[in-house]
Symmetry: C2
Subunit: 501 residues, 2 copies
């Protein structure tokens, strides 16, 4: 049993609030409220992904797992018969508690800032976006600890952080701490990319303690089951892995079902071939067996499993460019076209869909990516890695990619997968995770400002006024990383006096 403060220092001038639902009065949506010393600035309800870790009132016991806030809703649905996916409920015109939760969460108390009718994000709007496939709510019923969130172009731009990259055994508490550290800084989802011996157990601990959706690449575990030999992979091993992970509660799966046998030769002409790990595994399997990708040929059965557990499919881009030289080439766009075809298959079975995107793209080719994805994939939400806008700055790829991420977010990408300073060079440590998450939070926020999200500019304006008035503590409290802002300030002008003048 530990305090949340074990994991990190709480944000200054902040406290946790819970906003109740109207359609579903037992909903309590967590937000961070910041107290500003200027009486003219309204209290801001800041979007908060830290779950119970951000509430000093909650005791955390990683051996018990965190509170299962969605359990009553899930149990009620089970009682009423076979539960449906969020998309199936949406298509039937039913607003779920998850949908109202998401609407309140996205609003960030905008009703206070803009008046009762100031926001267009209503539970009904959420439902209609999910029904249309333009947004997803990843929330496996077997992960009842997860606070509902939405990924779609008409909502706040989200970011993903990756953990568990190491094959070296680490303690369960260390893995949980990485996840908690990510959500403290604002990660909206976390992908567990663990390899090695303790995949299942590590994932179990992460799921039982995670307030955000957890994504995985099931192929990584399937490969472990055949001792790392891609040639030995079979549909049966993969299927069993999907079921195993869906039973545990994973909220979305990256599946490289669009990399067809006929596309592999297209990658041979490239500067950097195939750089996606999942893509390399599948390409090798296809070539060795001279057979079509079994994820493609079994996609119907995959969708049946995903629909049963309401796991979102994140259609992986195994042919994403690994260099700016390979951006927007035939290999990349051929696979994208197939992802569009698979999107329709998944939707027909009620499965929520994300589409994964590049990678490495120079600025002038970014818009084409977004437009082509929308067109070919029928407006399913786009989930991109960066993209990196130049290849010449290893050690700074959180920045080369934040440029591309902010731009593609503005153009409509719904979720940005973070890149840390260690990209291409090594494994991120705790500081790298913080640097990567905060960099992506600022890129996502810049995108929200540019795409005109009605709540986005209030925080900028409140911070700017604090800056102009030399209200240093307010400036720190409103910033994405108050600890760093305070540290940098104090290097030059330490002491409380300097913070008030």
């Amino acid at each position: 049993m530990t305090e949340s403060s074990k994991f990190f220092k709480p944000f200054p001038q902040s406290h946790r609030i819970y906003v109740p639902g109207k359609l579903f009065p037992d909903i309590r949506v967590s937000m961070r409220e910041v107290e500003i010393s200027d009486p003219l600035t309204p209290k801001l309800g800041i979007y908060d992904t830290s779950g119970p870790y951000g509430d000093p009132q909650k005791k955390i016991d990683v051996n018990q797992g965190i509170e299962k806030i969605r359990k009553p809703w899930i149990d009620a649905r089970k009682k009423n018969g076979e539960p449906l996916t969020q998309m199936q409920y949406a298509k039937k015109g039913i607003i779920t508690p998850e949908m109202e939760y998401v609407a309140i969460r996205e609003n960030q108390k905008m009703d206070v800032l803009l008046g009762e009718n100031g926001s267009s994000i209503t539970p009904e709007f959420v439902r209609s976006e999910v029904a249309a496939g333009r947004a997803v709510i990843p929330c496996n019923p077997n992960h009842p600890e997860c606070e509902p969130m939405i990924i779609g172009r008409n909502f706040l731009t989200k970011i993903n952080s990756n953990i568990g990259n190491s094959a070296v055994a680490s303690s369960i508490e260390e893995e949980v701490e990485k996840m908690v550290w990510s959500v403290h800084w604002g990660a909206d989802t976390v992908m567990d990319l663990s390899t090695g011996k303790n995949i299942h157990e590590t994932r179990e601990w992460i799921l039982r303690n995670s307030p955000v959706p957890i994504g995985t690449v099931p192929m990584y575990q399937a490969l472990e089951k055949v001792n790392g030999i891609a040639d030995h992979l079979t549909w049966e091993v993969f299927r069993d892995t999907l079921i195993e992970q869906a039973e545990q509660g994973v909220d979305y799966f990256t599946i490289h079902a669009g990399l067809l046998l006929s596309y592999v030769p297209l990658a041979l002409k490239r500067t950097t071939g195939i750089v996606s790990r999942g893509g390399s595994i599948i390409a090798r399997w296809c070539m060795v067996h001279n057979q079509e990708n079994f994820l493609y040929t079994h996609f119907d059965e995959i969708c049946d499993i995903l629909a049963k557990y309401d796991v979102c499919v994140s259609l992986g881009d195994g042919l994403r460019p690994g260099s700016t030289a390979d951006a927007n080439d035939e290999a990349q766009f051929s696979e994208l076209d197939t992802l569009g075809e698979l999107t329709k298959v998944a939707w027909a079975k009620g499965v929520q869909v994300l589409i994964e995107g590049p990678g490495h793209v120079p600025m002038h080719k970014i818009r084409e990516n977004m437009e082509r994805q929308e067109q070919m994939c029928h407006n399913a939400p786009f989930y991109t890695l960066g993209p990196l806008t130049t290849d010449v700055a290893p050690g700074y790829d959180h920045i080369t990619s934040a440029i591309g991420a902010a731009m593609i977010g503005w153009f409509g990408t719904a979720m940005l997968c973070y890149v840390t300073p260690k990209e291409h060079l090594g494994l991120p440590d705790r500081d790298d995770v913080r640097e990567g998450v905060v960099t992506y939070k600022l890129a996502a926020h810049a995108a929200d400002l540019a795409k005109g999200h009605p709540a986005a500019h209030f925080r900028d304006d409140a911070l700017s006024r604090a800056r102009f008035d030399f209200r240093w503590n307010d400036q720190f409290a409103l910033s994405l990383d108050p600890d760093r802002a305070v540290d940098f300030h104090d290097e030059t002008l330490p002491g409380n006096g300097a913070k008030e003048s």
Copy 2:
């Protein structure tokens, strides 16, 4: 007498080359050539701003100053009568040695990569761009140590680094070291923003040891001369300061001549008023005296002085927005219109012109800035600070601004003034300068890739091939910051073996 290695570790697998001129055979353009272990990759001639500090053969003695490479050209011009500005030569159809130097430098040995006729950047093209006012070559004849460089939208995107911010006395060698550290990482120009007691002497040491153009804000020194009291400023004090600095060899002056008395009230409606230091000084002077800005009323005389010394004028944006809330407002654009009017006055006298720009601008308002600047200022080169694309990330403003800088560079901005992580919080130290310069180098390079500079992609592609082949040392040597890339790599996988596999 010291070695260049006193200042920094030399770049790996690199040596200095000097490319001779054709029109002017005594020209020797310095570049860094990188040796790649792959025989298929041509040797790249990397643009190098480090001057003699990047050549281990040269001995450096800061008491003597560095070699005066332009002295023979300047002396020859003096012998032939009154020397003209680069713009005046260009308008007469005369190609100067500076123009050929710049053409060779910009090419980065593209003739080797693309064949003899592969490059459009000829000395004649340089002349025509300078004649049209679309580019400037800042090179005061009293700064003969300066290696010629060009700032214009049809050339490589340049970056500026600021030094000397501290009022605290520091030793001369420390100030010179800050400048050398900036040019090592790739700063194309350096602004000396010194305040305090030893302004003149500090600047003298910087100029005598700087291989890049030096810019200043003469108002800062003029204000010191009236004991920091803006009300006491006069045209005469300012004029004498201009002459003093031009005699020393300053290559460009920021002058806030476009902030008119009638614009001051426009700034009062803003979220963050006037944040430019020069702008605040002038606004105060105008209000106290209820008189028009004396920099505007004396602009003709200012241009006569600048023309005599071939000092570029960088028309300052005293009303640049200090927050995204104030971007593209009436105050900002009114001043920009006046800068356009002043551009024509300066050009008529043969004075080269840069236009300074914001500041803080959300992404969706960046393009309007560039288009309006081009239109109102007759295609004079734009020189922007960032812009920052959100205000919520103090401590990360090198990144919030690199997003805007890369975009506006792509749209046509010729030079980007760097922002360090300490922006808004404190004074940058050595690490912050490196972080700021490298971040801006990558933003400028991303812009060059996007705007299709013919030489830009060779470096990305060579590095990407090295990455794909696991040629780690080649990857490091081609990166903007090899030291960091090596350090990050070695944290996870130290040892030489890991660099070759």
